[in-house]
């Protein structure tokens, strides 16, 4: 990856991430439970998680809702072909919209795949999602050379990230 933070992680950080990526235990003292499991001091676990958060390695700590189960049935992956020299400026605008959950720059694969900007939008129905797509199109204006929306028709698998216990 372009901006790798691998070097700043030591074994303790890795152990903590691996032990928590599937979620904290729901106990009165979850960080103590993790500490016990890893044979670490609870204060150290809290301190390290705080540091990882500060460094941006952990983006946030909290509830991860399952949008689909909560009624957000219309999940659209909107993809846009915008000039490379404008993608950072435009990506930040689109990524800042409150109905966009994820916004990424990904490579084109010409001629099959001309799109370089991805934005995930979620709505309770397709009408809502279609309106969101129009809003993004307005923001991009002439920079949008072509776009499409890939609605999901079926969820075939969805699990949290599980690194470290697969080998």
């Amino acid at each position: 990856m372009r901006n790798s933070d691998k070097t700043t992680l030591d074994q303790i950080d890795r152990k903590i991430i691996e032990a928590t990526q599937a979620g904290f235990p729901i106990t009165a003292k979850p960080y103590h439970s993790i500490a016990q499991l890893l044979e670490l001091e609870p204060d150290l676990v809290i301190e390290r998680i705080g540091k990882l958060l500060e460094q941006g390695i952990i983006r946030r700590i909290g509830v991860v809702p399952n949008h689909y189960r909560l009624g957000y049935r219309s999940n659209g992956m909107t993809v846009w072909d915008v000039p490379d020299e404008k993608i950072n400026e435009l990506g930040k605008k689109v990524g800042g919209l409150d109905f966009v959950s994820h916004c990424y720059h990904r490579p084109r694969h010409l001629p099959d795949w001309p799109y370089n900007l991805f934005a995930m939008v979620h709505g309770r129905d397709q009408q809502t999602t279609d309106n969101y797509v129009s809003e993004i199109a307005d923001i991009l204006g002439d920079a949008n050379r072509q776009h499409t929306v890939l609605y999901s028709t079926r969820i075939l698998k969805k699990t949290g990230m599980r690194i470290g216990n697969t080998q």
């Binding site: 979850p30 809290i46 390695i57 946030r60 720059h105 949290g160 697969t166």
Partner: protein, 169 residues
């Protein structure tokens, strides 16, 4: 996985689930800044003047129902391990079979059918880049279908969670 592949039973039983205002707050307001303290549920309970046992019971229920996937850290991609979004062009009649083959990899954490020529979209998160490439090459060889490799070049979203808007029933 076979069940979820059947279009008719696709999670429809969750359609009209409704949540109490406390449940909604506990889902919406703690997508970030979940307390990093010795007793986080106790701290949440104090904020709403509710018993801690009630808070824990609600979260346990929401997790067991699948309304929330987990409470925990959201890790920046590719900090640990290597991940990639891939798309495969699969003939409709082969979709089920190919999806099962791909889902059998524990490294595949998302797999969606989408309305496009490239109709199967999945995310692979492997222990390292080498393992990631092995899996992609295996999928390509086993299926022979056209594969798009779409690694993340830059993330633009702020990722403070997603504002949940509840239905006005």
């Amino acid at each position: 996985m076979t069940k979820a592949l059947d279009k008719n039973i696709e999670y429809s039983d969750f359609n009209n689930q409704s949540y109490s205002s406390l449940e909604q707050v506990l889902m919406n307001d703690f997508q970030h800044d979940f307390p990093l303290t010795s007793q986080p549920f106790h701290d949440i309970a104090e904020r709403y003047s509710v018993d801690v046992a009630k808070i824990i019971a609600i979260y346990e229920k929401l997790i067991s129902e699948g309304a929330i996937s987990r409470i925990g850290p959201v890790i920046k991609p590719n900090v640990i391990g290597a991940s990639l979004l891939a798309a495969l062009l699969v003939p409709e009649e082969k979709l089920h079979e190919v999806a099962e083959m791909i889902n059998a990899y524990p490294e595949v954490n998302h797999n969606y059918e989408r309305e496009h020529k490239f109709n199967l979209w999945f995310v692979i998160t492997a222990a390292d880049e080498k393992r990631l490439q092995i899996i992609l090459n295996e999928i390509k060889e086993k299926t022979g279908y056209q594969l798009l490799r779409l690694p993340l070049e830059e993330a633009f979203h702020i990722d403070l969670g997603f504002k949940l808007k509840w239905n006005q029933h």
